[in-house]
């Protein structure tokens, strides 16, 4: 199943099951969605529930919060994570805080979906990962879907959650054809052990999952049997699954597309240190995006983010440096 079809199926089934579910955003209706996620929904559910908005992100999320207060279950689509910065006041100061500031009286069943990440030569204002910004805010649940199954179950869960959920997607995943697994007793906060291994735990999420899987095949040839964990949920973080794996392998590597300074990896590393310091045989390795705005030129663009080759190289260097 295409990743984008899984998202579409989740929205479609949710809208079918509950008339209070609506979707709003730029080009989500008549156009069918910039990444075709909302394709077909306009003709099926009409303009009242599939709402084309002006290019005004602050209002897309702000309007969605108002809809949520009035009893709807809005899905606000932000075309690209970069544009979410315009809506940040609504996401952080309003959606995340209303329940708490009201002493638990307000309920905001809101989903804010957005694709992010480095695609192909879109330059710095269309290539950003902002998961750390969202994940550092109490009152938000932050989910990151790397595969069709999680895209489907996770998004459905988000839509029917009574709390505000930021649902992160990746631009390069939309057209990917993926295996769809049925999941019983789905837990949105549970990390997935993508591959079991005994030598090193590699923790990742979103599109980097696939780069890590590829890198792991090469590492296998070099005699390193890696365990791969896909986080799925960035807030809350499933530290239990991470810690159990690190205790087994004694070594941890974090691979993220986000910039290294203050990225998700920094938080994961801090939590591993708190939980597993005495289990570690080596310093935790962070393989992350470089601390530069993403360049347009393809060669430079690739140099700014982890790739399978880079992941292999850095892990082998780290192994040699630490005598493991």
């Amino acid at each position: 199943m295409l990743y984008r079809s899984a998202l579409n199926k989740a929205i479609d089934e949710s809208m079918e099951a509950d008339s209070s579910v609506v979707i709003l955003g730029e080009d989500v209706g008549r156009y069918g969605g910039s990444y075709r996620v909302s394709e077909g929904l306009f003709s099926k559910y009409g303009e009242k529930r599939v709402i084309d908005t002006p290019i005004a992100e602050l209002s897309i999320v702000g309007n969605a919060i108002g809809m949520a207060i009035a009893g709807l279950r809005p899905i606000a689509e932000i075309m690209t994570a970069n544009f979410s910065l315009l809506a940040m006041d609504q996401i952080i100061n309003h959606a995340a805080k209303f329940r708490y500031m009201s002493g638990g009286k307000m309920t905001i069943p809101l989903t804010v979906r957005m694709p992010g990440g480095v695609s192909r030569q879109l330059a710095a204002q269309h290539s950003e990962n902002y998961e750390t910004l969202f994940s550092s805010i109490p009152g938000l649940i932050v989910l990151a879907a790397s595969n069709a199954s999680y895209a489907y179950y996770g998004l459905k869960w988000a839509i029917f959650s009574n709390d505000p959920v930021v649902f992160l997607e990746h631009e390069l995943l939309y057209p990917m054809d993926m295996e769809f697994r049925e999941i019983k007793n789905f837990d949105p906060f549970k990390a997935e052990i993508v591959k079991e291994g005994k030598d090193v735990t590699i923790i990742t999420y979103l599109k980097m999952r696939y780069d890590v899987i590829e890198a792991a095949k090469e590492l296998e040839k070099a005699g390193i049997n890696a365990e791969i964990i896909d986080l799925n949920s960035l807030r809350p973080l499933d530290i239990e699954t991470i810690a159990n794996s690190v205790k087994k392998t004694k070594k941890a590597v974090i691979v993220e597309e986000d910039h290294k300074t203050g990225g998700m990896g920094a938080e994961i590393l801090a939590q591993i240190t708190e939980k597993c310091f005495y289990d570690l045989d080596a310093p935790v390795l962070r393989i992350a995006g470089e601390d530069v705005p993403i360049p347009y030129n393809r060669k430079l663009e690739l140099a700014s983010i982890p790739t399978p080759e880079k992941i292999v190289k850095k892990i082998l260097e780290w192994k040699a440096e630490n005598g493991i």
Binding site: A56, N63, M67, G71, G103, N162, F186
Partner: protein, 323 residues
């Protein structure tokens, strides 16, 4: 103007003012902390709007004690919130700027200037598609009328013909910045008049406020789209307790104090025989009692327990639920 209505206006405006004077005293006594934005001088706006807009959803800004009380919130619970007590309307987690009561369809005090306007618009959208016509009332100050969220909101509400009343209380000062220093005109309705009906009223006159909102309510209820009212008003106090108000002259303040909404209503009512001296005397005494009770209630209420720190971040009931 009839006797019952005048009495209601007087009662709520006086209640609001005495509440705020008590809040000011308690702030000075150290029982209230943080920001405290008083409404003194602007009671005609708070009371006139809430009396006219008696159904539908209300989204307010941070200067909202009197709005909340005029909407029906118990002064005890509001005072307890100002004291940060467990019994407060937001359980001591919101404070002066964040009084919420969904049972009264009252959402606000929002402390982000203009931040509540897109939310009010979204709520109006939902009400419209749900087939309810009571509509939405959004109140904000002149400072908000320069923000992007304001322009986005009037555009969307107007494009989609949403049932929302935008009510601007123009007290001329955004903290200490006069509207004429940051806007090309003092009356902000010029920004809106191409989008929707927009009128300017005397915000020191509660009956005028009431009539304008009543008219606007009928308009939005008929599905004609949004409506804009600008009320010229004045706050006697500073922006908040830390504001000494040095940016304006004593003369200016005196001019507006001579237009006091409560005193003028009283004079008018006596002149027209709609209420007598005895009514005012008895009402004032009753209000004094209510306010004293509210302060005592707040003082004697317990602090929240530290165990409540994490309560209300998320809805616990929805954890791990798959529809």
């Amino acid at each position: 103007m009839n006797s019952a209505r005048v009495k209601k206006f007087y009662y709520l405006m006086r209640l609001g003012r005495e509440f705020e004077l008590a809040a000011k005293r308690e702030y000075m006594n150290g029982n209230i902390a943080g920001f405290l934005h008083l409404d003194i001088g602007q009671e005609a706006v708070s009371v006139g709007t809430m009396q006219a807009f008696d159904k539908g959803d209300v989204f307010t800004h941070y200067r909202e004690h009197v709005l909340a009380i005029a909407r029906g919130m118990d002064p005890k619970l509001v005072m307890a919130e100002l004291f940060g007590k467990k019994t407060g309307i937001s359980r001591g987690k919101g404070g002066s700027m964040h009084l919420f009561e969904p049972k009264l369809d009252f959402y606000g005090g929002d402390a982000i200037v203009a931040g509540h306007l897109p939310i009010a618009v979204g709520c109006a959208y939902a009400r419209k598609i749900q087939g309810e016509n009571a509509g939405v009332f959004a109140i904000f100050g002149d400072g908000a009328s320069n923000a992007g969220a304001f322009f986005e909101s009037i555009n969307i509400a107007s494009a989609w013909k949403l049932p929302v009343i935008f009510f601007l209380e123009n007290n001329f000062y955004a903290i200490g910045t006069h509207i004429s220093w940051v806007s090309p005109f003092i009356e902000q309705f010029h920004k809106v008049k191409n989008y929707m009906p927009a009128k300017v009223i005397d915000g020191m006159n509660v009956c005028e406020v009431y009539d304008a909102v009543t008219e606007a309510k009928e308009y939005i209820e008929n599905g004609l789209g949004p409506y804009f009212i600008e009320a010229k008003t004045y706050r006697y106090e500073g922006h908040s307790m830390s504001d000494a108000g040095k940016y304006r002259s004593e003369e200016e303040l005196e001019i507006y104090k001579s237009k006091d909404p409560i005193e003028n209503l009283k004079k008018e009512a006596l002149k027209k025989g709609l209420a007598d001296e005895r009514y005012f005397r008895e009402t004032d005494a009753k209000i004094e009692h209510i306010i004293n009770e509210a302060v005592e209630f707040a003082k004697n209420s317990p602090e929240p327990d530290v165990e409540e720190l994490y309560d209300g971040v998320f809805c616990k009931e929805c954890e791990n639920v798959i529809p």
